[in-house]
Symmetry: C2
Subunit: 232 residues, 2 copies
């Protein structure tokens, strides 16, 4: 009787050749998902195995060690996406203002394609001790910052860009208006009435804010509130 239990236990040895996907890729998927969810350091082989519905031994069998697994996820999955994104983001010359809008839009849409990126970025770049901070600071950030700063300075001299802005801080603002809202989406989506907000709406809102700020763009500045030292 107990010889042919077709339903229960997942069979001990090599499984019948059917597994559609590449097993290795599946494991990397599982790892990446958990890395984004819990952070790299806090994700054990056991957890990855469980996520992939596999034993820890198998994960080890495939990658040799946890360390190597991490390296492979980084080099095969994360770095390519980040690199490509940063490359796209720095190749919009054109007119400065358009370049800034394009960068913002591209940023938002890229995150939609790789939903794991915002949380991972928060954990591994924004958080102290994150494993990607050094990489970003060495390979990505300086170029982007410089590019945006130059665009901004140029536009300010043209008189096209709000002269009160600090060209250096513009890149920080841009990330605060794109990457950050997406990383925070799981939070604000839980607020009453926020569930229905689409990425298009988000994009429109952020672009509108970026372009003209919150104040109504009336030519004459009458009694309109002036941003500045209001409270001591």
């Amino acid at each position: 009787m107990p010889t042919k239990a077709t339903t229960k236990k997942p069979a001990r040895g090599r499984p019948p050749a059917s597994t559609g996907e590449d097993r290795r890729a599946l494991l990397l998927d599982a790892a990446l998902t958990l890395f984004a969810q819990q952070g790299i350091a806090a994700t054990s082989l056991n957890a990855i195995a469980k996520q992939a519905k596999v034993t820890p031994a198998l994960v080890h069998y495939y990658f040799g060690s946890r360390e190597q697994l991490v390296e492979i996820v980084l080099s095969e999955r994360i770095v390519p996406v980040v690199d490509q994104l940063s490359q796209e983001l720095t190749q919009y010359p054109a007119a400065p203002l358009q370049a800034i809008y394009a960068l913002t839009q591209r940023m938002l849409s890229a995150m939609q394609e790789s939903p794991w990126l915002p949380p991972l970025w928060v954990r591994e770049v924004l958080c102290e001790g994150g494993l990607l901070r050094a990489y970003l600071l060495e390979h990505i950030a300086p170029g982007m910052a410089k590019k945006v700063r130059q665009l901004a300075s140029a536009a300010q001299q043209n008189g096209q860009l709000n002269a009160e802005l600090d060209p250096r801080l513009l890149i920080v603002s841009l990330i605060g208006l794109t990457l950050f809202p997406l990383a925070a989406a799981p939070i604000w989506q839980q607020l009453p009435g926020y569930k229905s907000i689409s990425t298009e709406q988000l994009t429109q809102h952020m672009l509108a804010l970026l372009a003209h700020g919150i104040e109504t763009n009336s030519g004459e500045k009458k009694h309109g509130a002036r941003a500045g030292q209001i409270f001591k």
Copy 2:
């Protein structure tokens, strides 16, 4: 001879009465510092003890258990600050636009007074699994979101506020322009030329962006770039 070694080993029992500060408070300080640095979950009693230059046993002696220590740091240190801040942030009625500027400024200055807040917020609210997300989502966020949303809606009907903005998303933008840049400061300060940026400069930049956006506020919209669907 071995009876009175005045130099070496750190003496077994109670040390000479010299400890200036309240020992308990010192331990809480150490804990809070590490919580902000590494996250609550990743901070062991051992680490806290080491940070406070004390043995793990002592920490346990004071607080009974790790769990209780965490609770006490939360209730005695973190929650009061967060609560007070949120209270201050929701009590600016006045004119809508001014209220928004005031809120922004207050936010930035409050973070300066409690530098541990931005990193802690990132770890424990923004990151999935953070221990403060639930608290925030229950006690702080709904009120603030509602308040800002109402301000925004009112101002839009007055014609004072940029009509293209989504009143719901304004609070998200505000946090992205205040809390986020401060949390990211350790990163961008490492970029060449960024070290010297003061919080005043940061505040001015963000307020300027918030008020009028990046485009020069020329009454007539001539060839100026229009924010919108530029790239497919």
